[in-house]
Amino acid sequence: MSSAAEAQSIPEIGVRFLRGVRTAVDGGLDPLSAAEAASAELPKPLRDGAERMARRLRGDYHEDEWGFDEEFAEGAYPFFELLYDRWWRVEAAGVANVPAHGRAMLVGNHSGSLFPFDASMITGAIMKEHALPRWPRFMVLDWAFSLPFLSAFMRKVGGVPASPHNALRILAGDGLMMVFPEGVKGTGKPFAERYRLQRFGRGGFVEVALRTGSPIVPIAVVGGEEIYPKIADGRLLARAIGAPYVPITPTFPWLGLLGLVPLPSRWRIEFCEPVVLDGLGPEAADDRQLVFEISEQVRETIQRKLYENLVKRGPAFV
């Protein structure tokens, strides 16, 4: 019976279901009971979906203390998987450098002016290619958390407001913390400066890693710079809406919503050898010189790997 149901097309299933409801209503049942009786006709995945949705509507699902909703993230995952496989044809290398257990800080270069997809693609690489995948948490520019819809979405898929206190807490709980030390300077740089790493803040990420004894995994992401090439900056508009910058790309805002479609560049993501800081102890975080040295070391690793992977990738769009 189940194989027969699978072979049917969607309209056929619908017709059979409605016919079942009709028969049951004619038999004297109320519409809801009739639908319940006829629902045996529905294929299993559909019934499972209905059950899951009912459970969620009752609030019977899990959120962690950050508001991360794993079921929601899994629901959004196929969209990002499509982008990963088909749109950007991401190739990931060295995923095994992400520890399978325990705390680790993932440090990447930041790109993608209009909407930085790099966090989602790094997450995709870990979830798809790692032997023991787990959801990383990522720091999100503060401004995004003051916006409707985006704030709620980011939180549910694992975003946390960019604050060292949040990074400390996630790492102390043995999580994977993804950070982009360049911040808006990385995403907001003009297209002409692509793949040139900006300043790594004040090295705050190293301090957090030292305090929590977390290894740092440098990540080089190639491909993100071409998705929304920023050719100019709408400074006045940015000031008016409080945004850090408003990118003007070849398609945005000229094509309206269509301009939000990212260009299909080819991506490469390389996870580098972890920088292990265990031996140093938390008090090393107060040593400014050491913090800057480690920060610079991580930055240089990422920059070198960016150039390597740019060569390996070849042309951006084919």
Partner: protein, 339 residues
Amino acid sequence: MAGRRILIAGIGTHWGTELARRLERDPAVEQVLGIDTTPPSASLGRTELIEADIRNPLLARLLPSTGADTLVHAGILWYPEPGKPKRVLHDINVIGTLQLLAACERMPTLERVVIRGSAAIYGCEPTGPSFFTESMAADYPLRTRFQRDIGELEGYFENFARRHGRLTCCMLRFQPEIGPGLDAPLARYLSLPAVPTQLGFDPRLQLLHAEDATGALLAATMRPVRGAVNVAPSGSISLARALRLIGRPQLPVPHPLFGPALARLGDRLGAGSLYGDAVRLLRYGRGVDNARLRNELGYEPRFDAVAAIRDFAAADRGLRLVAAPRVATVLERLAGSAR
């Protein structure tokens, strides 16, 4: 050692009364005294009531005669109440506390001062820490009237604590409370037939179960620690999930209209005016770290953020909008998994 003599300012509030009830049952407590202008919210046994206003200068002469070793100030108001309208809240909260602290200086028997304050001092910010610890109180500007009042009285209290090093001064920063039977504006809001929310925002909340609120206040009264302590459940819950657990449909309103809409709806449907930082709380939420409560004050909350909502939902008897079967019920019956 003789038993403890505990003086509760603001005995007329729900929390003052609840604390007195617990203290009355404790044999280690020799005497419970309560000050307020209004009678306790429930009948009390051996508590001795003093009808006085904490803003009255005569208090300084009255208090030393009580011989109290502990003063608990439970009279800080988060919301206007009947007989205590919005415009006198500043007077009661700030000037009242100031007068009370001044009176404390004349009490030679006093050893401990505990104030029931608010986590509103951290504000509700889209940015920054998702779990504020006690040292982060001054990180953000104080935006609302209530926040400024709390900030001001915390300032006085800190100053007072510095000048009187022999006293153990403890400031409790409570997250908003919820509980079956607790009639607070936020509880009334969550019991509206359809709950207005801010379109596109889903704040993380920590609503403290009323039982834990009293439990923590009792723990702090018996064994206070110096400085501020956050009183909050562990974990957090999103407003959307909380409303689903309570079984209330959301009524999303564009966020600039939320404040006015709530004020109007609130007056008509009994949610009362959500004084303080409720509009920002219901937009950005707020989480605080409760490690100090658990480790130093030694109080382990019985309900985490989700359990507090579940308990509230279980006892909820508010008006429901839809008599028709809920969407979830329909879906469950279609899936053939109805309970």
